[in-house]
Symmetry: C2
Subunit: 210 residues, 2 copies
């Protein structure tokens, strides 16, 4: 019996970040699917766990934690094996800067909640999502010019990659021009081949649609 249960949705990019961290750190967990399309995140039993009705949500010892970056930071402090932040303080800060470019400046503006409020028209939604994903990833591409190696920050997989890969996955969904994003695309292709990333990817989750 593992200590952790993860409530998540197969297509949620924030869920993928956490699943990948759990795989990298080899932390076993129970998996519970929350179907956003059926509004299961608003079920009163679920909002006892995550008051704002968010996925992912992590259960540990009868307590619950939402917000993917908070979960990543907790996993890093509680399970220090396979570190996902550098040791050097400034390097850690630069990785968290990359995290912010995706987790604050890009993903939230293109998520389902915002698209629904923007328009009921799928084409208008797609224009919106493509615009902000493209802008966000262009900023990320510039930001990694000095640090890029095998991954976003040299040769170590960090929180930054955990945020980047699901965002590039969304970029492909919304037909963002990846020619302007050669580093992001190369890191994406490289990471998809990692067993840890693949195990955490949408298509391998319960409830995934082709």
């Amino acid at each position: 019996m593992s200590q952790l249960t993860l409530y998540h949705y197969w297509r949620s990019s924030c869920s993928w970040r956490v699943r990948w961290a759990l795989e990298l750190k080899k932390i076993p967990y129970q998996s519970v699917a929350v179907n956003l399309l059926k509004n299961e995140q608003q079920d009163p039993v679920y909002t006892q766990k995550s008051p704002a009705g968010l996925v992912p949500c992590l259960e540990f010892g009868g307590q619950y934690l939402s917000e993917s970056i908070a979960i990543l930071e907790w996993l890093e402090e509680r399970y220090p094996q396979m570190p996902l932040l550098p040791r050097n303080l400034w390097d850690r800060a630069k990785v968290r800067e990359l995290v912010g470019l995706i987790a604050s400046d890009t993903q939230p503006i293109q998520n389902l909640k915002v698209l629904k409020f923007r328009s009921s028209d799928q084409k208008e939604r797609a224009v919106w999502a493509k615009h902000f994903i493209s802008e966000g990833l262009v900023a990320y591409e510039k930001a990694i010019q000095k640090t890029v190696g095998t991954y976003s920050f040299g040769g170590q997989i960090t929180f930054a990659d955990l945020c980047l890969i699901p965002q590039v996955y969304n970029a492909h969904r919304f037909n963002v021009d990846m020619n302007q994003l050669p580093y992001c695309e190369a890191i994406y292709q490289r990471c998809l081949k990692l067993p840890s990333c693949d195990a955490a990817a949408p298509h391998n989750q319960p409830g995934a649609q082709p």
Copy 2:
């Protein structure tokens, strides 16, 4: 001569977070105003510092760091006096969860960049901002039910308050109904009276307009 220079804009809520942390930790810094209304953040000299043209941006030893949460985390690791995160690992995580509710789920959706893309009409922009600020703060209000004390997380000022106060300031600007947010409003009123918060507030910054 202080070690740090902060590039910021008086009305930027993300800038306020960092200014307040610097005040609380009593870290001296040079202040450089970047006028977003004059697009100074896109000036090529500035984008050498912050490639994505973001405020705030912190300079330390000739290196530059953008993204307010990355800056807060670095300040906390580099200047541990007056801690802004609890010691207990789960408590730290719960504070970072609150941070995410504002810094990922609320502020980015109502910032100037998004409002400009949404519409050129001020009324349409206001409807958008009010909707997402209200939704975000309602989630925050629910999330602090079990932890609220003098501040969001008991009696300690944390990263969560650093994010909350500038967001409530924006809520007032956009006429969000604060009657539905009694805890948020009470913490806001309490914090505004703190000399550290006031010194960091928009009206006390260079370039502030009445």
